[in-house]
Symmetry: C2
Subunit: 574 residues, 2 copies
């Protein structure tokens, strides 16, 4: 491609409305333009990257035995009513009527459509397992679209759905998808991790997320510093402290803590570590038969944070988690949230494993401006349960049993689920099994955020000058930058010759044939992140050489014109 | 691909609800399934064809210098309000609101979005010309979706839009697109014709359609039997008869034509050829200043048909064309439609060129049950205009001046338009020209119906046994059909070896490894239209041979196992 015949559309100024670096750089590098809230037009440079990601995903899915289909974006409401999601999903599911006033949705995902398709096509266990995928546009009417294509409303996704007779077959395909995803992210050239994850609203039990590691990531991931263990901290188990609980040695006593509302206030006032303090949070219990909801007290060590996902999964706790209001807390404890604690409460009390391991600790006294010191479980709080309800933190022992936890941030770009029978049961999707009996199919589903990968790759690969693409998904692998080509026939000829040779070798080349100053060309090629640059200048031509520069390492080298193609081929990572 | 690991989904029975052969065969061959009215899920065999068509279109667009972009399917209403189409388009434009009650449309086409994008990106004539395309899903809420994917609501389209400073540049890109389209349809292996066309609701002047010729085509196309001339009969010019008009020789006389309402009735009754009769049709005129619409009389030779598109373009005629009601005709002529004519009418009268060439002809007398014979222009009807308002018919002289007209039927699969300034003016999309002045850009647009091509290819290429794919878009190029492989180790081994060799050579092979009777395998491979079949049987293996069969020609041949790959490579049309 020659820049004169291309739509480069680079922008010098950093766009004001972009919050994260990938969004800024995708705008500046001429990859996307905003059409409306959460909707982006892809310019040529953006499309080139998107198509390369798409093709790698497609090839690896095919290799793993998945078969490509293409399902409509517009879906009849009836299927969503059958699965129940017409009622359970909020406004994120965009609903509309056609000219005949029939109800439809814009597909945010395709479990219903594929399950309907498969229940009509597949009748016998002999046709299973089956793994169908598509690469297709999705629409989710996010309340607050942001971060550019990272959290857009319209986006490109690869979604796959597998169908099985039983768990063993599902596990086999799940493992194959796990490997395929590793192959995909390896080929994309990204630093990623598969992590254990919660399966959330999609349903099912076992689930892994694939994260591109980047400081700007929305998710925190817990790694073992010794083993392969990695989990989203949403679901990483925080183990109970090892060893026996310290023996109680103090009597319960009330201490005045005027105007000390937070753990750190109390710790400072009483001159103790915040690990000696237990904080108490109140959430709503599941409704009883009359529809009333009592409170539940959640007790955590002062230095720990509540893990809401773990808490809402506990029996007796309302899901999704709802925190009690100040009024509800005062009605129960006769004190404000800064002075409350579990002692003397007649409600369900759940202590985090670490909090439950404390002795002689400090809690709010349920009396405004007072705390209890020397508190001990059993003696002072007899009726309580122990559960893992906190976020794992750096330094915690890894739940895998090896090493300690390190926390890193990641961007979720893939997610695989063992769905089980959630959708197949609702849509009565079954086959005849070996005994000739009707059996509901077991399902898995496997997603990759194709357009999101583009942004995540930039979050992970950039510097002050712009994007640094991995070779596999670079819009162009090589930039040809001639110095004053329009004044030197020799430079024009050599550049043209190199362009022809490199292109003939199947390399994606951007030949910057604009009448621009060298500085402008260098800046643009760095901004759009071309991994390999070749500068054609008069002086080097005297030695039959051109200058090579590597975008990532900054490595410079002189290349003989005669061997440029083979030299470049060796430098490109396949 | 092995059938055991594929979703073949062929169906023996002809589906009852499919009207045309391509729809029937796409269902029977397991290519698509209906999800809802005008919405189809593509099964693996369908996707394979669709992707091949898509890739050929992409490659030829790239070669022609067009640059790929990707625009959102969901579009803000504001742009459609700006162009005016929010108000002028009917319910085919699907409108909906998002969670914040903002108005959107599901994109049926992208003139507005691309013009908005380009007016923001392009500021100088130096950046022109620019030709941007995308391959993307469209939605048109057709009142009556039918014929399977041929006239679906959701469909895959390649749409390109070019931007220019002036007509000369537009013409250049238009010509390049014309050539690119020829290359596309040549590579697809289809019998097609570019034809002059009307530009319809999209706007603009010059326009060509690309038609795949098939008896089932919805459009009639007029060809010259001598030259390259081809035009949609919607717009093929019917020339005036050559030679002088015959001299009038008869006096005007009233003849009784009781209960003869049609041209053929009158011709039979009066024992004349229908070419001696002129029929008169009444349509509404453009509204006058008071909003009233008079009638206009259109006079055609008895054997000719009105061309509505030509008529509605005439000055003074309401567009779109509206026929007068029986009541309106009776109020004007004091007779029913079977007895009306232009003699004595005080309204605008437009005679078709052929009708205007008549002398001593017959028309209704505006008196129930009577006609005039011996009618002559000027003498009997003094105030009239002459225009081309009929459909061209087979045998007419070609408007190109060479040869005569032959009519064939076609399926429109591509359409290129010189849009002019219709959208760029409405959206004020301009650039600074060489003189530094703001100038509105000139536009072209170029569409290919990617999913429609799949159906059109089948309409053109099928027999009683199923589809006959051209090599370039066949879901599989070669079918390997082993006879009783599950009983013969030798057959299994040879088939496996051929499968590996052919696949390694980059050929798309379907290895039918099912435990099915040979007849079932043959029928399925013919139904899904695999162009080349290789049958592996015991007897031929004794001679180190396999049997080859060509789906289209029926040609059979024995191939040496050792040379199968090179033999097949020679048979596949690239």
């Amino acid at each position: 491609m020659r820049t004169s015949q291309y739509l480069l559309s680079t922008v010098k100024e950093t766009p004001a409305d972009a919050e994260i670096i990938s969004h800024k750089l995708m705008l500046r590098a001429g990859m996307v333009r905003r059409l409306g809230s959460g909707m982006f037009s892809y310019l040529p440079t953006g499309v080139r990257v998107l198509r390369k990601v798409e093709q790698i995903v497609r090839e690896e899915m095919n290799k793993a035995g998945a078969i490509e289909v293409l399902l409509p974006m517009v879906q009849p409401a009836e299927l969503w009513q059958e699965s129940g999601r017409w009622d359970t999903m909020d406004a994120e599911l965009l609903r509309f009527k056609d000219r005949h006033q029939r109800d439809y949705v814009l597909g945010p995902t395709h479990e219903e459509v594929i399950t309907d398709l498969v229940r009509r096509e597949i009748t016998s266990y002999k046709q299973l397992p089956l793994n169908l995928y598509q690469i297709q546009t999705k629409f989710r009417d996010e309340r607050r679209p942001r971060f550019g294509v990272m959290r857009a409303r319209e986006f490109l996704m690869k979604d796959a759905y597998s169908f099985h007779l039983g768990q063993a077959s599902l596990q086999q395909t799940y493992d194959a998808m796990y490997s395929a995803y590793c192959n995909i992210f390896n080929r994309l050239g990204l630093d990623y991790r598969p992590v254990q994850a919660d399966s959330g609203a999609i349903g099912g039990s076992v689930s892994h997320e694939f994260h591109v590691l980047a400081e700007s990531g929305e998710d925190a991931i817990a790694f073992s510093d010794t083993s392969d263990y990695a989990a989203n901290i949403e679901m990483a188990e925080a183990l109970a402290p090892t060893g026996d609980k310290p023996t109680p040695s103090q009597a319960l006593r009330e201490v005045a803590t005027p105007s000390a509302g937070s753990v750190s206030d109390v710790a400072a006032l009483l001159q103790v570590a915040n690990t000696r303090i237990a904080k108490t949070l109140f959430v709503l219990a599941e409704a009883d038969e009359q529809g009333k909801q009592q409170l539940v007290a959640l007790v955590l060590r002062g230095d720990h944070e509540l893990n809401e996902l773990k808490a809402e999964k506990l029996a007796g706790v309302a899901s999704p988690l709802q925190f009690a209001t100040d009024e509800q807390i005062r009605a129960l404890c006769h004190a404000g949230p800064g002075s409350v604690g579990p002692v003397g409460l007649n409600i369900k009390i759940i202590a985090d494993r670490s909090a439950a391991h404390l002795a002689d600790f400090i809690v709010g006294a349920n009396k405004e401006g007072y705390h209890f010191n020397g508190v001990n479980w059993e003696r002072d709080i007899s009726d309580y349960q122990i559960a893992d309800i906190r976020n794992i933190v750096a330094g915690d022992p890894s739940p895998c049993g090896f090493g300690h936890i390190v926390i890193k941030r990641g961007i979720e770009v893939g997610h695989i689920f063992q769905l089980g029978e959630k959708y197949s049961k609702a849509l009565k999707a079954g086959v005849l099994n070996e005994e000739g009996k009707h059996q509901i199919m077991t399902m898995g589903c496997y997603g990759v955020g194709v357009s999101r990968i583009v942004a995540a790759a930039i979050e992970q690969n950039h510097d002050d000058n712009g994007i640094i693409w991995p070779d596999a998904i670079a819009p162009f692998q090589v930039a040809l930058i001639p110095m004053n080509m329009h004044k030197s026939v020799r430079i024009a000829e050599v550049t043209e010759q190199l362009y022809q040779q490199l292109t003939a070798a199947g390399i994606d080349v951007l030949f910057d044939d604009r009448r621009e100053r060298p500085g402008v060309m260098f800046a643009d090629m760095e901004l759009i992140g071309v991994p390999h640059s070749i500068v054609i200048g008069e002086r080097n031509l005297d030695n039959q050489q051109v200058e090579y520069k590597n975008r990532r390492s900054g490595e410079k080298a002189m290349l003989d014109i005669a061997s440029v193609v083979t030299d470049i081929q060796q430098k490109i990572t396949r």
